[in-house]
Subunit: 665 residues, 2 copies
């Protein structure tokens, strides 16, 4: 074994470069922190794997300026068709429902394979911080944690040895190639027939592995995050485990270009056949369709596990054909295939002393059909990233790190129960009639689907009270917010909904969320109401005066010499007619002046009619009265609502921020 | 002088790699034709120059899959504010009007500097045809045309010598650096402070120039297009000239980050001061604002030309400050500046024997303020590109090439008169009252602005009758099309308007134009009406049967063995409820079957309500009755409407295509 070649220290060491790890690296690339990310695989993923992206995930990716790339390239799933046996046992379309609940987001569910999402992250990271690169073919081999250093968040309690693998070691096993009906060779892993052109550099980099093979290095880290999948090495080091169980349900997956007369092959479909099992259809990009196919005839081996060697694409296709009958189904092109046994497991502890964290599949595993896995995993590190960054940068108190586990463990548990219920309904045999108690009621299935859509969208996430989600200090919320449509109104603990507003200075319509980029800043959204009225204007001006004062919390929490909007940004959305307001008449703190670039024209917005894109009705949708007393809303750097107060409650605002922000000298 | 190093033949030689040349190269990259593009400059443009993009231009760029990049990166201009002297002589905002007429396009006018547009073209070309690269620092030096070969469009009548320049020769002159008020060095040319990262490769390539400097090469071409600007070398070779005249009006241009208390600095503004001249404000990307500033105090030298050496950024700024008063205006960052004398000139001949063509500034020059130059230039070669490509590929008869001059010369002439009228109104002194006959009426100015917006949008372009625009053989148009809103209805000679429709197979909403990519195909849009009614279905089926027949024009004009949609694509937009139609019940010709990839799910659309994006009301907007007799619309590869007929008029359709399509063996 080679001796260690270099010792180094990092602020954050990320283990695993799948969607969760890359989301975290992407966060870190926006801060002045030393970050490394390693992955034991020699290359990124090129096809197959996860594919579903929920609307909240798209909102998040858009806040990093990559949502539009996914929105364009992905297949949009608009409608779900339910197919059930009719009285003769033949499958019939029984229902159509919208795939994403109407009105909860400006995005809808789309499908695009994991490799493309990873590519967009890699591009974004490169744009922000060219020297933060995924170190592939590198894995940690030893771990040491010095608990005595854990309380000092400037110190480095973590020591890890990293080893560069040989190319063979870094290439995941393929479970054998197999012939498709058309004769094409297919694989269930890194099959590269649809290799996107911008991945070439990754393949070249892989060639460098051998020259470094066997080298080891000792790294000291302030933080480490295990995004290293269901068999997480980091989790093993911590001695944590997942609990849960697996079922007898075996499913196969085929990514194919289908040749079929089934009329809804480009719709998301749930097909329950009378007795041959179920299929879910996920129409994808590039004419591909993913089929999740229940395999009823695969024998279980010892320990209740399916015998993987008995499963081939042909076996899966034949099962599908029985379920699709009398419709025909075949293919000549298969892009990827796999099989799995449904199970649900969740971790009990997500962190060691808020210095080592687990995220994604390392703390929750479940079946893929609900299209949740990649979403919840990325949202884990979306939740964690800014917290680590703001603590490591000295902006926020380390106490906020505890909220990662309290917030995300509940989501993981909800996900596990959702999947448990959903899988049972999906894999069960349809009831023949109301007396058939062993069968699944198709009405119940439809209801579960519809209700499940709110959960699955990611928009329903509702974080409980903590230092940074403060219902208790926002007593006036119920009088300020008149609407209760989930996903459309301001609700503490939930993400800020988005409606179109107009820039006061140039009349351009923006979705509110487009002005809430994930850049690590807290935001105060000021809704002063109709500031053509003296009362509203006076409340607004009075708040402005307090915020602008030299000893205001805004100044105290902003480093001396830094721009006043660098830690907390203030945005105004008023409900006066845009044409009746002049930006220059408003208090300076709401559109700060700079000697070299003049006034800031990008912070004040009007809830008014646009020329070309209608009226966003932002106030009404959010539950605010246009002519009312207004409101102040604090958003975390991840767009979740922290605090809501009256326009006059400067003290409440100050107290809220005082609970976790660090005063700067 | 070095001897020629290599002789070669090309199908198309493009001289000049500005927007017009790159648009043409971009077209050519989509065909299997040998194309070269040369430019005498050593690098592309990085800032300054043209910036305005009209809505029709965005539609065109979107048809090449690059519109979205511009839409995201550009500044959107939404409102125009008019500022005039009040009775005391102080400038006041007198009016606000929408910058783009509401409802004529899915895009609105935006601003982004020319260099970024060129970058997006270069990326698109690389994606289509990696070996088609701009040869920079290369200029043609001799030209020969063998008229005896002009009639055989397979032959090469053009001979050109190309010479590689030295780096010095390839670098455009700078008219001297100058100090800005803040002390920054600024240039009026290739200033690189805002160099976008993806331009690096261009700068590196420039370093290669010297090693090839002085080399010459003889090239034989089937077609040559001069996109080489106002001083066009190609035009000189043909002995053609531009006619027109220049005025006494001198204007300066500053691209700055303004520091000002003028309230509408982020709006497009037309400011007429009482006696100090006029300013147009064009708010741009990256906090920049472009100011067009009338210079009243620049003396004219010999020959009526302004003395350029007397013009500096300070002179321009001082003129602006007088016009803006009492508002203040200064800057510390200047990105680019220039000055020009208004004039309008247009060419008489656009082509030599339909083998050598002129486009863009080579055939029309005018003042930049109307934001037309780059647009009309790109639209010249957008019009020309597919014609050359389809003739060179043997798809269409060479006779269609004559339409380039007949169609585009009229546009150039309209542009010249528009600019003439507009410049006079802009540069003139505002009238003091109705008796002040020498002054310009501000009401007349406003009206000209509003009317000019339809012309300026590019949507009003209306090509006259020819082989490929056939009003005369479309006699039933007036009974089929009930609407006459310009820009919103089907009108022969104009571009096809766009409204949202739903894909029959997956319910996804698309703007109709998104399904009309510029790929060189002709398209037949079939509007069969409500095909749940037996009459409409029978008309639709009957048309399908004729189109599918082995001796149909569709088969005769498609090469044997090629896909049936490879020359002419048929799209259906029906008005039946989407849920009442099954794709598999419709005639195969409207959704062709392929043994390896199954049915085509991307050719049939419904004019119906979507879940998340409203109802496009495509039939109503286009002027078609939902329950009516339907219509068939033929579109050219550039989205212009060629022919409109009844559902039953297969013979008319056949006759129209028979006029210019080549039968394939």
């Amino acid at each position: 074994m080679a001796i260690p070649v270099a010792d180094s220290t990092v602020d954050v060491l990320i283990v695993g470069a799948g969607p969760a790890g890359l989301m975290l690296a992407n966060w870190m690339s926006r801060f002045n922190l030393k970050t490394r990310i390693v992955d034991k695989r020699g290359t990124k993923i090129f096809n197959g794997q996860a594919d579903g992206l929920q609307c909240r995930t798209l909102e998040i990716l858009d806040s990093f300026d990559i949502g539009h790339r996914i929105w364009r390239e992905s297949n949009h799933m608009v409608e779900i068709c339910l197919w059930n046996p009719d009285e003769t046992g033949r499958i019939r379309r029984s229902d159509r429902i919208p795939d994403t609940i109407v009105g909860i987001s400006r995005f809808q569910q789309v499908v695009l394979h994991q490799g493309r999402i990873e590519r967009f992250f890699l591009d974004a990271i490169k744009e922000n911080k060219a020297d933060l690169k995924v170190e592939r073919g590198v894995m940690p081999t030893t771990f040491d944690f010095d608990a005595s250093k854990a309380a000092d968040f400037k110190d480095y309690p973590i020591t890890v040895t990293l080893r560069t693998l040989t190319e063979d070691e870094a290439t995941p096993c393929q479970s054998g190639t197999a012939s498709s009906p058309g004769g094409t060779e297919i694989q269930d892993g890194l099959f590269r027939s649809n290799l996107a052109p911008d991945d070439t550099a990754d393949l070249i980099a892989r060639a460098e592995l051998n020259s470094r093979a066997g080298q080891t290095e000792v790294v000291k880290a302030r933080f480490m995050v295990g995004c290293d999948g269901a068999h997480s090495w980091v989790r093993q080091q911590l001695g944590y485990s997942l609990t849960g169980d697996s079922t007898d349900y075996i499913w196969g997956v085929l990514d194919i270009v289908p040749v079929t007369d089934f009329p809804d092959i480009r719709m998301r479909c749930a097909i329950h056949s009378e007795s041959q099992g179920s299929v879910m259809i996920i129409p994808r990009e590039n004419k591909l369709v993913r089929l999740y196919i229940q395999l009823k005839e695969v024998p279980l081996g010892e320990g209740g596990r399916a015998d993987r060697s008995k499963i081939t694409p042909d076996v899966i296709l034949k099962s599908a054909q029985k379920i699709f009958a009398p419709y025909t189904l075949t293919y000549t092109h298969c892009d990827w295939w796999t099989a799995y046994q449904i199970g649900q497991r969740v971790g009990d502890k997500f962190s060691l002393d808020e210095r080592v964290f687990l995220a994604g599949d390392a703390v929750h595993t479940h079946s893929p059909k609900a299209g949740q896995g990649m979403n919840v995993s990325m949202q884990d590190t979306y939740n964690l990233g800014w917290k680590i960054a703001l603590v490591a940068s000295g902006v926020c108190d380390p106490a906020i790190l505890k909220t990662y586990e309290t917030e995300r463990k509940k989501i993981a548990q909800d996900l596990i129960s959702f999947d448990h219920r959903f899988s049972r309904l999906f894999s069960g045999r349809p009831a023949k009639d109301v007396m058939d108690e062993e069968g699944i009621s198709m009405d119940e299935f439809k209801m579960a689907f519809e209700k499940g859509n709110m959960f699955a969208s990611g928009v329903a996430v509702d974080y409980k009270d903590s230092l940074i989600v403060s219902r208790s200090t926002s007593p006036s919320t119920s009088t300020l917010i008149q609407n209760s449509d989930p996903g459309r109104t301001i609700s503490i603990g939930m993400r800020m909904p988005s409606f179109k507003v107009l820039n006061q200075s140039d009349a351009r319509p923006w979705h509110l969320q487009e002005r809430l980029p994930s850049d690590g800043r807290w935001r105060i959204l000021v809704f002063p109401g109709d500031i053509t009225t003296p009362t509203a204007l006076s409340r607004y001006t009075s708040l402005g005066t307090k915020l602008a004062a030299k000893n205001s919390f805004l100044h105290r929490f902003t480093p001396p010499g830094a721009k006043i909007d660098s830690v907390i940004e203030i945005l105004t959305i008023h409900s006066a007619p845009r044409r009746d307001i002049e930006l220059t008449d408003l208090p300076e703190i709401f559109h700060p002046y700079c000697e070299t670039i003049g006034w800031d024209y990008w912070k004040v917005f009007a809830d008014d009619e646009s020329y070309h894109e209608g009226h966003g009705q932002c106030y009404e949708n959010l539950g605010l009265e246009r002519k009312g007393a207004g409101a102040v809303v604090v958003l975390r750097p991840d767009q979740y609502v922290s605090w809501v107060g009256e326009m006059g409650d400067y003290e409440g605002l100050e107290k809220f921020f005082g609970g976790f922000m660090v005063e700067r000298k």
